[in-house]
Amino acid sequence: MPTPLHIVVCGGIVPDPLQTLEPAAPNAAFPAQPSLKNEMMLPAVLDPWAAHALFEAAHLSAQVPGSKVWLVSLGPKAKLQQVMMTIAQKAPFELVAIDGPASGFTDAFAAAAALAATIEQIPGLDRGRLLLFGGWESASRGAGSTLQMVGERLGITEQFQGVDRIAARAEGAGFEIMERIEGGRHQVSLLSSPPAVLGWATGYLPEPRNNPQVGMANMRTIMPALQRAKAAAMNGAGPSFASVRLPAVERQTRIVKDMPPEEIAREIVAWMGEE
């Protein structure tokens, strides 16, 4: 019988990717750093990579009886609450909310410090059984470093990034972990026991369907968690931004009729060479 796991998933929120995301200079709402235009009014979703991590955590937790999942999320409380109305229906977890900015311009170092400090204070969390999950990337600027720093601060040295699968081995003999490496291949590692950090790529699990019964059960802890969420001090530290702008999209279209495929291929190869 494998030892029950304590899985903590770090997951922030990001603006719905279908929205118009336009960087804006510091303003009254975001005086310290740039933000997105109308950022607070944009509907948000759980960061897609973190969402994969959450679904994998729930899946693993279901396979190892007695395990428990926490979702630690740093973001504006009101926005977190909206996101929870969907995410709470996907998988059983307990929310640990930290009230703070979710902007893509937030410094990863400060975010990691806030997350680690919060995780350390989770009541009943057994660090010896801890698997720290999160996204290896993020849909908000994607520094790709926050989770690693959280792990470091918690003193977890076993770190895996670009994870696509974790499987509990028979008779509690640790875990098999599959990480993405170059060339579209995976590296398989064996983890003898927690603690460990797993930065998830996309995994293989589909997004679970909404289950309102799960949502109602989660809400018993989510609403109180949102109410007692502490504000994280994130200002003052980190990089300063001289300017922010969207990457320029340049479209160069030529309409050429009856060009032979060989010629098209030659042109593409030449263009790639220029790049």
Partner: protein, 735 residues
């Protein structure tokens, strides 16, 4: 103290209203169960439902395996179990009218056929829920609950089978196309009934496992009418019938089933008793459907509201991108950035569509909330009345007294009645009896017209299958929503009775005062124009109730639908506009509590206030037109005859008076009709109408015209906001 001139910065609508805004507007910001339900229903609507529509599933009226997948999606997302109590497999405690309305809204945002399909199952259960015995409720509700983890069963699906006799598809619910007889009745045993029923246009017909069917007695041993539950495995014929060749709502199954079944008498909804050897159903079919439809019609109205609001984003995107990609607009130029939005007409018409959508949604959700309040009150009232054991004349007397007490309570004379359940029920019931038909009638009827407007804003694209947001489909679907669950005439008929109820009118008077107060605090809402229009409507109602036409016929009476129906239409405009204004005020009050809204709240409230003003002005205009035509239209126009000319000046008389009052002859010609010495007169239909006794109406009409001041400026501001609002890069469902 000096006054500093401070130039206020104009705040515009920054982004389309999101969930946090809607939760405040429609009063479920404190209901996380409903917020989750919205997300669940939205995921189904913008996922499986939208994909089916985009793949062309609406091209056939047959119930296909692809369409059937929706049932599973409804089950898995919790939509199927919304109607159920937690003990029956549901997850929402208490009344569910608002919950059902939100589900209908979300599904109809993409496709109302899907919404209808989900609601039809609830409709089948509604007779059992409202009037069934406890055993019937437990049995059928739990079977309709989706399987829980570990269970391997298919939930039952139901259909509601009312149906008027073929070939008429009329509105008379007193006529039924189904018969029930006693098939077998052994002494000391439960009677067995034989039910013959042919359904027409029955939703969920293709796959229903059970049906709640309305039937009338064809046997002297059964009294009157009833509703009876038929199951697929009952002995006899349970034929799902042929699919209806409908042009709309193709994602729901509709057919003409045929039933010839033997069922135990205990399947009568609500049970029965036996008196003198006759089976007496506890409830007639009329009593049951009254309880059912008064709730479910609200959700139908809300479906059309969803269509209108769902049209905004695709139309804005179409307008802005209309000239992009061509040679006539270069990036950065106004034409490239704003496209058709450079033209005032394009954006102002969209403002009207949006204002209508907001008003109709406000009315619909207000009605749903009223029913949520009414449901528990109704049960408590039933208990109180059961304890009093009143019947016959005593019951009639008690009802009259109740009405009297309710009026006294509303007038403030009897504050001691505040906790009296029967009084509170009567007061709220009188509002529900108006809001429900008003919502069904106005949201769908006027909504269908405005949906046409939305389609027209997309140009030729609007009536293609490629139109983003499926607007063409939605336009056609709106017409069905105006028809099913009681066509417009049924709603107008109901309103013509309920809107003249004294208890309702006492509250309506208070609503007029309420709108004046709102106007005082928030002048930009158009509440003042609305209050005047409400006053005019009330004046007109009283006038019509006590007046006769030119032939001496009473004006306000049941058969005089030319009088009662337009007045019912006029009331709907007022109610929708009032609800919209109240919602906007709620947002202004509660919005600042939500930090996520703080950034854009000034622009948002300014925009929604302008929409209120636009809609109030439109409502006032409609009410003025209708009331004027009713007040004046039934009087005979004076003719150039003896009677008509009696009120005119004679030229000879004026000449004689000229000697005494110089200038009167010329002056009089400017104000009154004058018959010249040779009997000639100005060329027109007759002497001008003297509105004896109608002066007050004329003053109101004139005042109301003045109240429209500023409404077009509000429309201009709202239209400008549409050119600045940020919209997503793409629609969040396939098209």
């Amino acid at each position: 103290m000096g006054l500093a001139v401070k130039e206020a910065k104009t705040e515009y609508l920054r982004a389309l209203p999101g969930d946090d805004v809607r939760q405040i507007l429609w009063r479920f910001a404190d209901r996380f169960d409903l917020q989750m339900l919205v997300q669940s229903a939205r995921a189904v609507a913008r996922g499986p439902v939208a994909r089916l529509v985009a793949q062309g599933a609406r091209h056939t009226h047959d119930w296909t395996p692809e369409k059937r997948t929706l049932l599973q999606a409804f089950d898995e997302s919790g939509i199927t179990s919304v109607f159920l109590e937690p003990s029956q497999g549901g997850f929402i405690e208490g009344p569910k009218n608002l919950a059902l309305a939100l589900v209908a809204f979300e599904l109809a945002w993409v496709d109302a056929g899907a919404a209808t399909g989900s609601l039809a199952g609830f409709l089948a259960l509604s007779p059992i829920h409202e009037r069934g015995t406890p055993e019937q409720r437990d049995y059928y509700m739990s079977r309709c609950a989706p399987a829980q983890p570990g269970e391997s069963r298919e939930p039952w699906r139901g259909a509601f089978c009312l149906t008027e006799p073929l070939p008429y598809v009329g509105v008379e619910t007193g006529l039924l196309g189904g018969k029930v007889r006693v098939a077998e009745w052994k002494p000391g045993e439960e009677p067995v009934l034989e039910v013959n029923k042919r359904g027409r246009f029955i939703t969920n017909a293709a796959f229903a496992n059970f049906v709640t069917a309305a039937v009338e007695s064809d046997d002297p041993r059964i009294k009157g009418t009833c509703m009876v539950i038929l199951e697929e495995d009952d002995p006899g014929t349970f034929d799902h019938g042929t699919p209806t060749r409908k042009l709309v709502h193709q994602l729901s199954s509709t057919g003409d089933p045929i039933f010839n079944l033997k069922v135990p008498a205990s399947r009568m909804v609500g049970g029965y008793s036996i008196k003198d050897g006759v089976i007496v159903p506890r409830y007639s079919h009329g009593e049951i459907i009254e309880a059912v439809f008064r709730r479910t019609r609200v959700t139908v109205g809300i479906m059309t509201s969803a269509k209108l609001l769902s049209a905004i984003e695709p139309v804005i995107r179409y307008q802005r991108t209309r000239f992009r990609g061509g040679s006539i607009a270069s990036p950065g130029s106004p034409r490239y950035e704003l496209g058709l939005q450079l033209k005032e007409d394009a954006v102002e018409r969209l403002v009207e569509v949006w204002a209508t959508g907001e008003a109709s949604a406000s009315l619909g959700f207000a009605a749903a909330r009223v029913f949520d309040q009414l449901d528990p009150l109704e049960r408590r009232r039933d208990e109180v009345l059961a304890e009093r054991k009143l019947s016959g004349t005593a019951a009639i007397k008690a009802r009259r007294q109740l009405q009297k007490d309710a009026l006294e309570y509303l007038s403030g004379k009897r504050p001691d009645l505040a906790d009296e359940v029967t009084i509170q029920y009567a007061i709220l019931d009188s509002v529900a009896n108006v809001l429900c038909p008003a919502c069904k009638l106005w949201n769908t009827g006027h909504g269908a017209q405005m949906m046409r407007e939305a389609v027209s804003l997309m140009g030729g694209y609007g009536i293609t299958e490629d139109c983003p947001g499926f607007l063409g489909h939605k336009w056609m679907d709106a017409q069905l929503e105006a028809t099913y669950e009681g066509p417009e005439a049924v709603q107008r008929r109901q309103l013509s009775i309920t809107m003249a109820d004294d208890v309702f009118l006492a509250q309506f008077r208070e609503w007029i005062r309420e709108m004046r107060r709102v106007a005082n605090d928030k002048p930009g809402t158009g509440a003042c124009a609305l209050a005047t229009a409400m006053q005019m409507w009330l004046w007109t109602l009283h006038h019509l109730l006590h007046s006769t036409d030119a032939n001496g016929q009473k004006l306000y009476q049941g058969a005089r639908q030319g009088v009662t129906f337009p007045l019912a239409d006029a009331l709907c405009w007022l109610l929708a506009s009032r609800c919209q204004i109240l919602d906007a005020i709620e947002l202004e009050r509660k919005g600042p509590e939500n930090p996520a809204l703080a950034e854009g709240l000034p622009g948002l409230t300014a925009f929604l206030t302008d929409l209120c003003h636009v809609q109030a002005a439109r409502a006032a205009g409609e009410v003025g037109r209708i009331c004027a035509s009713l007040v004046f239209g039934y009087n005979r126009h004076p003719a150039w005859d003896t009677e008509g000319c009696a009120a005119c000046y004679q030229a000879d008389d004026l000449e004689a008076m000229e000697a005494l009052i110089p200038g009167i002859a010329a002056l009089a010609r400017g104000y009154v009709d004058v018959i010249e010495s040779d009997g000639s007169h100005v060329a027109k239909a007759g002497p001008c109408v003297r509105s004896a006794g109608l002066d007050q109406f004329s003053r109101l009409r004139s005042r109301m015209d003045g109240c429209l001041t500023g409404s077009q400026l509000a429309k201009d501001r709202a239209a400008e906001a549409l050119t600045k609002v940020m919209i997503p890069e793409a629609l969040d469902y396939p098209a």
